[in-house]
């Protein structure tokens, strides 16, 4: 497994929950985002993910560190780049903590924060062949989420 948090192509979900659980942890919360077949009523056939690699890698690492500090959880995040098909996984977050409340809170915070702070862009490919970048949200600092 690469230590990079950006991966070329779809993510393999099983890989992210297979690591042994630390003995002091009792809860693992996991989130995966996958490519849907529809967006705002329009049939989607796939998504190409673009990233600013250096800044994205830095911010993904910072999200893990900030989640640990805020929630006392061990958090790992990864995001796909390149062409994904419907059903493919584009993003994963895994949070391990003493109890489920912290695990859920850290997992939810990490995915919500990732969407606002990491320089990644969805270029949707529609069933009719057209491609379009999603509108998105102005990038924020992690500390402001």
């Amino acid at each position: 497994m690469s230590t990079s948090r950006l991966r070329q192509g779809p993510l393999n979900l099983s890989e992210w929950v297979a690591a042994p659980m630390p003995p002091h942890c009792g809860g693992l919360a996991f989130f995966a985002g996958t490519v849907r077949n529809v967006h705002e009523g329009r049939a989607v056939s796939g998504i190409k993910y673009h990233a600013h690699v250096a800044l994205a890698e830095r911010r993904l690492a910072e999200i893990e560190a900030e989640a640990a500090a805020r929630f006392g959880a061990e958090v790992s995040v990864a995001h796909a780049v390149g062409d994904l098909a419907v059903g493919d996984a584009s993003v994963v977050v895994v949070a391990r903590a003493g109890h489920r409340a912290e695990a859920f809170a850290a997992c939810r915070w990490a995915i919500d924060t990732l969407k606002q702070t990491v320089p990644i862009w969805k270029e949707e490919r529609y069933a009719d062949g057209e491609t379009r970048f999603q509108e998105g949200t102005p990038i924020k600092d992690i500390k402001n989420t």
Partner: protein, 81 residues
Amino acid sequence: MRIVIECCGASQRWCGAESVSLDLGETATVSSALDRMAERYPELAARRETLAVAIGDQIVHAGRALAEGERLALIPPVSGG
């Protein structure tokens, strides 16, 4: 000075290019580079307030002074996840 702007995400479409070279004065800042881009690309101008700029692996503030040959990345609104 001459700098290069790398156009990320949808900004490639707004500028019609993956990267753009700019000739700027000696005291150029991130803000003056964005001004020049906005003059040149109307689709960018309309979104000026939503843009950020990265140098290396960090977001830089508008007042940061630029140096000859630097590479800036234009960061339009993000849509990861």
